[in-house]
């Protein structure tokens, strides 16, 4: 009787234990996170003048707007256009083309601050030694060439495979 009664309970506990462990980790992580956030507030209060906080908030808002209202919709819109316009083009080819465009865009994002810095920052010897506009062009051309090569490679491979299948 005792053995029968204990069986479901042990089964229940063994089933519940991973969840309990996860719950403990969740609580621990959230408490740790809140503590670190409080520490970050203390660091900010003790090292940055309050008159500068508004500048930080402005940059936060600008970052959200630039990403959520500019970058993401553009990427999203480009995805819609490429995918839906390219109805007669294989999906893999569309994915490769999209990939090439995104890689070029990431290079652009990384290089734009340097291009602006060359114009607006106080430059001195050995700082920003390259022509970054030209190098961005080289990277775009390289990306487009590799993208085209990948598309051609994919089409050749699929054609050979189809031919083998008969």
């Amino acid at each position: 009787m005792t053995a029968t009664a204990s069986r479901p309970s042990s089964r229940r506990s063994s089933k519940r234990s991973p969840t309990t462990a996860i719950q403990r980790w969740r609580i621990g992580l959230i408490v740790l996170g809140v503590a670190i956030l409080l520490l970050s507030g203390y660091i900010l209060l003790t090292t940055v003048k309050p008159t500068r906080y508004i500048g930080i908030v402005e940059w936060f808002i600008a970052a959200i707007i630039i990403h959520d209202a500019l970058i993401a919709p553009i990427v999203f819109g480009a995805g819609v256009i490429v995918r839906r316009m390219g109805r007669r083009i294989p999906l893999a080819v569309l994915a490769i083309v999209q990939g090439g465009l995104v890689i070029g865009a990431v290079f652009t994002i990384v290089l734009v601050p340097e291009i602006l810095a060359q114009r607006y920052a106080h430059l001195f010897e050995t700082l920003l030694p390259f022509d970054y506009v030209k190098n961005l062009g080289i990277l775009w051309v390289g990306t487009l060439v590799l993208t085209a090569a990948a598309v051609v490679g994919y089409l050749l491979v699929t054609r050979v495979r189809r031919a083998r299948r008969g």
């Binding site: 969840t19 719950q23 980790w25 969740r26 621990g28 992580l29 959230i30 740790l32 996170g33 956030l37 409080l38 520490l39 970050s40 660091i43 900010l44 090292t47 500068r52 500048g55 930080i56 940059w59 936060f60 970052a63 959200i64 630039i66 959520d68 970058i71 993401a72 990427v75 999203f76 819609v80 839906r84 083009i89 999906l91 569309l94 994915a95 999209q98 990939g99 995104v102 890689i103 990431v106 290079f107 994002i109 990384v110 290089l111 601050p113 340097e114 810095a117 607006y120 920052a121 106080h122 001195f124 010897e125 050995t126 700082l127 920003l128 030694p129 390259f130 080289i138 990277l139 990306t143």
Partner: protein, 443 residues
């Protein structure tokens, strides 16, 4: 995919955080702190990794945000107080992360167009990010553990397995499988799953993008003859849909990793010699500058005049009442050592160079240096954050630490600190004091 990118991004954030802490405390050490010197390139490695991981965050965070973008438009936007806090913490997390990596990247170009102090803000925001990251992982832990491995994430057809209430009661099902209402039950299971996973306007558009009819429908092998009625378009079957989803998924991940590899490869040549020929986008180039080495602060910025480093130049060594003064000629006449050490800048660039000069511990012996003593270094520069710095005994006693007079086989250029500068292993460039004026024992 959100889990795959999330753990990479989380790892990059942690790498940046710990290497950043190391850089912060080696520049502003607590009195009890000592730093390892047994790897001369240690700071070049930690700071090079810090910058490379920070640059890698760009494709990772953009990819991660793309995968969760539809969640921005869930309706209703707020379902309760806890949900409000969660969404607010995500907004803080995303904003802090974007600002942190952006100002970090701008700073590598020695440009400060910020309405706030860079270093203090960069330091404080790193704690905001790590705190928000811990909260985010805590909130999403059931989903993270559920989708940690590919094997347990997709079924035999390659379709994402929704979480099971019995198996994972803690999962916020809304973030994986939203409400069903508008998904027709007659659709094949994989289509239904894909449509169900699409929540909100953008989520549905995402599913619509992936459901390009031409790619999902098996094409008839032969086109019908002119005048014949084309056969009805066959409905997509599960393997075809799964294959399309797999292609989209793979294309997305390959894109993220290729852009990550690209920016890191074309950037890291400023600190990693094998990649120097690929350096197209870094703010510095190895071998570029006086004595074939880049500089970070010019003599003009430091207001060093010819008179200050001319015949009147003296290097003063002090320990209490004991004072020794050296002219440049006297320094040149002392025994010289040659070492290979890097200049490793806080901005991430680094380059190993050949230095020749007087061993620091030998020089400090002239005023009766004792083991365990730290020193204070003062530069001739009129003002600057690093005009006066301290150096712990672990650096003073290291045989590689020199008061350098020559660099790469030539007399030290004034831009590199002529007449004499400090060079020590595993130390940031800002602490390798140029235009040395005084070395004074402090403890």
């Amino acid at each position: 995919m959100a889990v795959v990118l999330g753990r990479l991004l989380g790892s990059a954030f942690l790498i940046c955080f710990f290497t950043g802490l190391y850089s912060h405390f080696i520049q502003d050490p607590e009195p009890w702190m000592a730093f390892p010197t047994f790897i001369p390139n240690l700071y070049a490695i930690t700071q090079g990794v810090h910058i490379a991981a920070g640059i890698a965050c760009f494709p990772l965070i953009l990819g991660k945000l793309y995968t969760i973008y539809p969640r921005l438009f869930v309706y209703p936007p707020i379902t309760g107080f806890v949900n409000l806090l969660e969404r607010a913490s995500i907004a803080l997390f995303v904003a802090a992360s974007l600002v942190e990596i952006t100002i970090g990247m701008i700073n590598t170009a020695d440009w400060y167009p910020f309405p706030f102090p860079f270093r203090q803000t960069h330091f404080a925001l790193s704690f905001v990010i790590i705190g928000s990251l811990a909260i985010h992982i805590g909130v999403k832990l059931p989903i993270i553990t559920r989708y940690w491995t590919k094997k347990h994430s997709y079924d035999a057809d390659g379709v994402l397995i929704p979480p099971d209430d019995d198996e994972e009661p803690g999962i916020d099902r809304d973030s994986v499988v939203p409400e069903h209402g508008e998904v027709p039950a007659t659709l094949p299971a994989p289509v239904r799953a894909a449509a169900e996973a699409a929540r909100g306007l953008t989520g549905r558009i995402l599913a619509w993008i992936d459901a390009t009819p031409n790619s999902l429908v098996a094409k008839p092998r032969e086109l019908p003859a002119v005048g014949m009625t084309p056969p009805p378009t066959p409905a997509p079957d599960a393997p075809v849909i799964a294959r399309a989803a797999r292609t989209s998924r793979r294309g997305f991940l390959v894109t993220i990793f290729a852009s990550l590899a690209g920016v890191v490869a074309f950037w890291s040549g400023q600190s990693f010699k094998p990649l120097a020929p690929l350096n197209l986008i870094a703010p510095r180039a190895q071998g570029d500058g006086p004595n074939d080495l880049p500089i970070n602060r010019t003599s003009e910025m430091a207001k060093i005049t010819a008179d200050m480093v001319g015949e009147n130049y003296r290097l003063v060594i002090k320990r209490g009442d004991q004072v020794a003064t050296f002219t440049y000629a006297q320094l040149l006449a002392m025994p010289q050592q040659i070492v290979q050490l890097p200049i490793a800048c806080v901005n991430g660039w680094s380059q190993t160079a050949t230095w020749k000069g007087i061993q620091l511990n030998t020089l400090m012996d002239e005023v009766g240096r004792k083991p365990g003593e730290a020193i204070m270094l003062t530069s001739l520069e009129v003002r600057g954050n690093y005009r006066v710095t301290t150096m712990g005994p672990e650096f003073v006693e290291n045989d590689l630490s020199l008061v350098a007079l020559h660099l790469n086989g030539k007399v030290l250029d004034i831009e590199h600190g002529y007449p004499a500068r400090m060079i020590a292993p595993a130390r940031p460039g800002v602490l390798q004091t140029k235009w040395l004026s005084t070395l004074e024992v402090t403890t």
